[in-house]
């Protein structure tokens, strides 16, 4: 069953092309998980998150100054190389400045039929953020209606909400299995599922998840791994090769706080009479991206409770090189974790990671966590 998700993730572009051919629908490429996909599903548009490919490239230096995060440069590279040539539209929901550059260069050099910048508020801790975002999503809805040439009814919106909610709920259920002493799904496989969740039609993804969960319910396990329980957290991370390496040296990734993974699906829309407002509320209240986590640090209690819930022994703190928002959180989060007897290993990610050099650190970290009697 896992293989289905792996295939989706590996052949993401082919999948989208086939989906288009099959449904005749439009595909929207999006940056950042603050994009309200509910509205896109309401409009029968397939949202596909723009991600990098983890190959060294030499096409972005002319467009993005090298001091910005490698992930945003890797994303733009995919566009410049024509890998997303099937997109009908491109959009971004406002978060950090880094990824914004990938979007602005994209709109200039890889023009598409429809482009949209959604000014997602940063002050999510202000009571005025929700009404403001409600209005912005309403404007976005109007722009979409204009583009697709039809009105979006409340039934459509409700439908979009249902599709997203069901899929997010099932991911939650999957994660409950990762609380087991021997999680039936490895961290690497979980990541495959989480990545495919952001590019595959949620209805298909939901179907596959149901089948997988049925298997797990029946006691099936896809993982022999029962190593040291680890949490990964920090910047965007879809580096499966890295997770595989960690699990190859007897670590097991059981939890995460990444925008691929829990931050993407942790909370759901609680529909009320004003559907758009209920969507806005969901995005304001979701586990925050560090660029929006001020003045209070809401991420710390969230991460600590997750670490407790999943019985985490150590945390690997991942940061995309030059990622300012995370650089501004990591010292505080590390301090909080260590104060709660959760040791941390900090690693800086680039487009590709030096597995060899990182392996030493991960192994040493695991040796540090292991209770052995060699002393």
């Amino acid at each position: 069953m896992i293989d289905k998700f792996v295939q989706w993730e590996k052949n993401r572009h082919q999948y989208a092309k086939d989906w288009k051919a099959r449904t005749g629908g439009k595909v929207m490429g999006y940056f950042c998980t603050y994009v309200p996909e509910e509205i896109l599903y309401a409009a029968d548009i397939l949202p596909v998150r723009i991600l990098g490919s983890h190959e060294p490239h030499d096409v972005t230096e002319a467009h993005i100054f090298g001091m910005y995060c490698p992930f945003s440069r890797d994303c733009l590279a995919q566009g410049l190389k024509g890998r997303y040539d099937y997109l009908d539209g491109i959009m971004i929901a406002q978060s950090c400045l880094h990824i914004r550059q990938a979007y602005t260069s994209w709109t200039k050099h890889i023009p598409v039929d429809f482009e949209y910048y959604l000014p997602m508020p940063n002050n999510v801790q202000s009571p005025h953020a929700t009404p403001y975002l409600t209005e912005e999503i309403t404007q976005f809805r109007k722009a979409l209606e204009k583009w697709i040439g039809r009105e979006l009814t409340d039934e459509n919106i409700q439908n979009g909400i249902d599709i997203m909610n069901e899929n997010r709920a099932l991911m939650h259920e999957l994660y409950t299995y990762k609380k087991n002493d021997n999680p039936p799904v490895s961290g690497a496989d979980t990541m495959e599922i989480a990545i495919s969740q952001q590019m595959v039609d949620k209805r298909e993804h939901t179907q596959a998840l149901k089948e997988l969960l049925a298997e797990l319910g029946g006691g099936k396990s896809y993982s022999k791994n029962s190593g040291t329980r680890l949490m990964v957290l920090g910047s965007e991370n879809d580096d499966i090769a890295f997770i595989k390496m960690v699990e190859s040296v007897n670590g097991t990734v059981v939890a995460d706080d990444h925008c691929i993974g829990t931050r993407y699906f942790w909370n759901n829309v609680k529909p009320n009479e004003n559907l758009v407002e209920s969507i806005a509320t969901r995005y304001i209240e979701r586990p925050a991206c560090p660029s929006k986590d001020w003045i209070d640090r809401t991420r710390i209690p969230h991460i600590l409770s997750m670490a407790k819930e999943f019985d985490v022994k150590g945390a690997i703190v991942i940061q995309q090189k030059f990622c300012d928002p995370h650089e501004l959180d990591i010292p505080a989060i590390t301090k909080a974790l260590q104060a709660n007897d959760i040791k941390t290993l900090f690693l800086e990610f680039d487009v590709t990671v030096p597995i060899g050099q990182f392996k030493i650190r991960v192994e040493a970290f695991l040796e540090m966590l292991q209770e052995d009697d060699l002393f």
């Binding site: 030493i360 040493a364 040796e367 060699l374």
Partner: protein, 288 residues
Amino acid sequence: MAKEFWRWKEYNWKSETIDWKDGNTVSCGIDVGSVSSQAVILVDGELYAYSSMRTGSDSPMSATNAMNWALEDTGMTQDNVHYVVGTGYGRVNVPFANKTITEIACHARGANLMYGNTVRTILDMGGQDCKAIRCDEKGKVTNFLMNDKCAAGTGRGMEVFADLLSIPIEDVGELSFQVDEEPPPVSSTCVVFAKTEATGLLREGWPKNKVIAAYCSAMSHRVVTLLQRIGVESDFVITGGIGKNVGIVRRLSQELGFETLKTDYDSQIAGALGAALFGRALAEKARN
């Protein structure tokens, strides 16, 4: 390159007092580093013999060579060794290793024996990276940090320098103090550019010693910042090749305000020694 000034001397040593045949457990640690490889042989935890050699591009070979050289005129053969632990960059390629353990754990363990159980902070300046390690009284790692991005402050950097100035690497430290006053540190962070900067200074007529001093202080300063990020707690020691470079060691402890503990052991064998100690524990564990 006529003479390679950057090369560390290769050497081996053997105890005159211990007869390995009297020992119950003979354990061996092999540290295949990126620049040099060491083999250490312990008899019941007592240092019996060791060797240090340059790592070749074929690491299994380097491991075997180091081992054989340590065994030289001991009458001991590999079969007499009960347990071998491999560590270092090339640890996975020690053909005859029973187990591998990272050099971070091994350096802490080794330092614990070499300098005593009061050691809390270890600076391992290896060939290509620089590790700051915190450990407890058992020599178990509690935290560690490695330098990223840039190699200024690694053994390799110093070697590039020794070569540029045609000064044997062993002499660099002492020479760096033969200056009237401490010059400002070289500003460039990139080893390659530091080299250019040094060339420039020499062209301006700076004496070699002064240039060396400028580089040593730049290097120790970079390392100090790394150490301070993880926090230095005494006792503080420096292992690895650079541990022998007084030019760095003295400046370092000066800036840190910490004296580094001295040891009669060769600071370069800390990793292999730690590995051998783990080897002994593992061997005895296997027995009972």
